[in-house]
């Protein structure tokens, strides 16, 4: 006895015979796209940085270090969330380095509207060596952002990012975008006046 599915199939042109596997593949892709929306950060420890470097070697990507207790960091997450929506082609890797549980970090990521990005949160204390391996000039200030090109060249941003610089960096990689130009991590207007 034919199933309703096969009945349906028998009435379609030959190329639709491949519909089922194609639909399956499509579903896989959809799940990969949306399955990570509520991602709890993975524990960041002394082995994590080398993993990140290895995974993104030769690829353009951004690593953004932030902390749950750092007000300017939390304010800025919203702009990074917007950035990932506008530039899904640029991998953004988030690393939370304050003393907090992954659940606490995730709560702030969700309330910032952050979508599917690779996310880490400090497992135990951040040792000096763990900062040194990232950047021997990074003494702990947050937020701290690394813009890395496919050629391995890295530009660092200390404090809330000036998104004009981020967009300029994208421009150097051949991506035209001005959507976030002029945006910084919510710099208070009282201090916006030129110095």
């Amino acid at each position: 006895m034919k199933t309703p599915y096969l009945l349906f199939r028998s009435r379609l042109p030959a190329f639709f015979k491949r519909l089922n596997p194609l639909a399956g593949l499509l579903f896989v892709l959809m799940c990969l796209q949306y399955g990570q929306l509520s991602a709890e950060p993975a524990p960041y420890d002394e082995n994590s940085w080398s993993r990140i470097e290895k995974a993104y070697a030769g690829k353009r990507h951004i690593v953004h270090f932030w902390g749950v207790t750092c007000g300017p960091c939390v304010d800025e997450l919203k702009t990074w969330a917007e950035f990932t929506r506008q530039h899904p082609e640029i991998p953004l890797i988030l690393v939370q380095v304050d003393e907090a549980t992954p659940q606490q970090a995730e709560k702030l990521l969700q309330s910032s509207g952050m979508g599917r990005v690779e996310s880490w949160s400090l497992a135990a204390g951040l040792s000096d060596a763990m900062r040194y391996e990232v950047d021997s000039g990074w003494v702990g200030e947050l937020p701290y952002t690394r813009l890395s090109g496919a050629d391995g060249k890295t530009r660092t941003l200390r404090g809330a990012a000036d998104f004009t610089k981020v967009e300029l960096w994208l421009g150097q990689s051949g991506i035209n975008s001005v959507a976030l130009q002029g945006r910084t991590g919510k710099l208070a207007p009282a201090f916006d006046a030129p110095r």
């Binding site: 993975a42 902390g67 996310s119 135990a124 000096d128 060596a129």
Partner: protein, 413 residues
């Protein structure tokens, strides 16, 4: 044959369907491309309240020569003492926070104050909501550490308090200062104002109660710890990362005239404009002649790194900043202590996996310094290096994850 092909397609489709279901399972979907696993870390994270799991350890000597430690570990603040200069410790007593979420970063260490009468005050911050607004709590002991009170808030506060510091004058009055957001709000145009306020309060009864909170200055960096010293004249002096016009986060020193905030002096024009958290607080020592000594960190337009400067008594400005440590070695976390006419400076340097604490001493109130001497090192997590004195001797107090707590004499008696 056609039927067989159809069944093949059905099986293939089913396979992809299963793959999709697996991809939908949250734990797999959240695993970073870089390949970490949640299970990987179990067993290696130190989560007990014991000293070995501490993130920060604060020392103080009581007048009977016992070394007391207050530390943050496993979400608790504990206290213990040693009668053999840190070789062994009494059974720890957990004094707080009891269910609240401890602010346990290395920049926000628990405070421990022992006055001349032996009364003890332990202070710490707890996060009271998901926005990381905090409140400062105290536990006190009136019987030399045998019993501690239940934790209680230092002051009423509707907004947020962080980074408490305590100091006592010779009469046993306790001065408390912290970073407070009670005045944080909006300007006339409804725009959010940056930073926080520098708040303070005095206790005249060994920490049992505090006078109403007052604001000494604002705005200052909302996420930067303070430095505090009590002058021999009983006037507290605070160094803090002030928010200057243009979002500049440079250091200033404020001298109290007993109950009122007095003069504010900028330590150096570093010109560090950062809308962020430097996570690197300053150190302050006030010597017996009234000279001020400050060590700090900056990434300003005008200088970058760790620096030291002094101010002679009565002078209106600080000396030219002197760089601390070797270039390119992440020098920072400096700490200062005056012991008689000697001034001690310690700091950390980092090269690859090795963290080293160095010390220098000045016998002429900061004008000239001894050569940097290596004191201790570690290859794992470490707290900031601190200095402590007792009976004429100066010690380095340093907690490291691999070696544990160390008290190292910097000079012979």
């Amino acid at each position: 044959m056609v039927q067989l092909t159809r069944w093949l397609f059905i099986f293939a489709g089913g396979f992809f369907w299963m793959a999709a279901a697996v991809a939908e399972e949250p734990n797999i979907a959240t695993t970073p491309a870089s390949g970490a696993s949640h299970r990987m870390h179990e067993g290696t994270t130190c989560t007990e309240p014991g000293l070995k799991c501490a993130t920060s350890v604060t020392p103080a000597f009581s007048s009977d020569g016992r070394l007391w430690l207050a530390w943050a570990a496993g979400g608790e603040v504990s206290v213990a003492f040693s009668t053999d200069q840190g070789g062994s410790f009494s059974s720890p007593v957990v004094v707080g926070p009891h269910a609240d979420r401890l602010d346990a970063g290395s920049e926000s260490r628990p405070q421990l104050l022992i006055d001349k009468q032996g009364r003890m005050t332990v202070a710490w911050g707890v996060f009271k909501d998901d926005k990381y607004n905090s409140q400062v709590y105290l536990a006190t002991s009136q019987d030399g550490g045998a019993h501690f009170s239940e934790p209680r808030p230092l002051a009423d506060n509707p907004v947020s308090q962080r980074f408490p510091l305590l100091a006592a004058d010779d009469d046993g009055n306790i001065f408390a200062a912290w970073v407070d957001k009670r005045n944080g709000g909006t300007d006339a145009d409804g725009r959010k104002l940056p930073g926080a306020a520098l708040a303070y309060a005095w206790s005249r009864d060994g920490g049992n109660s505090f006078a109403p909170v007052q604001i000494a200055d604002q705005p200052l960096c909302e996420c930067c710890r303070l430095g505090l010293a009590m002058g021999d004249d009983g006037k507290p002096v605070i160094v803090y990362r002030k928010l200057f016009e243009g979002g500049i986060r440079d250091h200033a020193v404020l001298t109290f005239d007993k109950d009122k905030p007095g003069r504010i002096l900028r330590v150096a024009d570093d010109d560090w404009a950062i809308n962020g958290c430097p996570h690197h607080g300053p150190a302050l020592a006030v010597m017996d002649d009234g000279s001020y000594h400050v060590a700090w960190f900056t990434q300003g337009a005008k200088r970058q790194g760790a620096f030291y400067a002094y101010k002679k008594p009565g002078a209106a400005s600080f000396s030219t900043p002197l760089p601390i440590g070797a270039a390119g070695k992440m020098a920072g976390r400096s700490y200062l202590l005056a012991n008689g006419n000697k001034l001690w400076l310690v700091w950390k340097e980092v090269v690859e996996k090795q963290t080293t604490v160095y010390a220098r001493m000045s016998g002429d109130r900061g004008r000239h310094w001894s050569k940097a001497r290596m004191i201790a090192e570690t290859s794992g997590y470490s707290d900031h290096p601190l200095l402590i004195k007792n009976a004429g001797q100066t010690w380095l107090s340093w907690f490291t994850r691999n070696e544990g707590y160390r008290l190292i004499a910097l000079q012979k008696k």
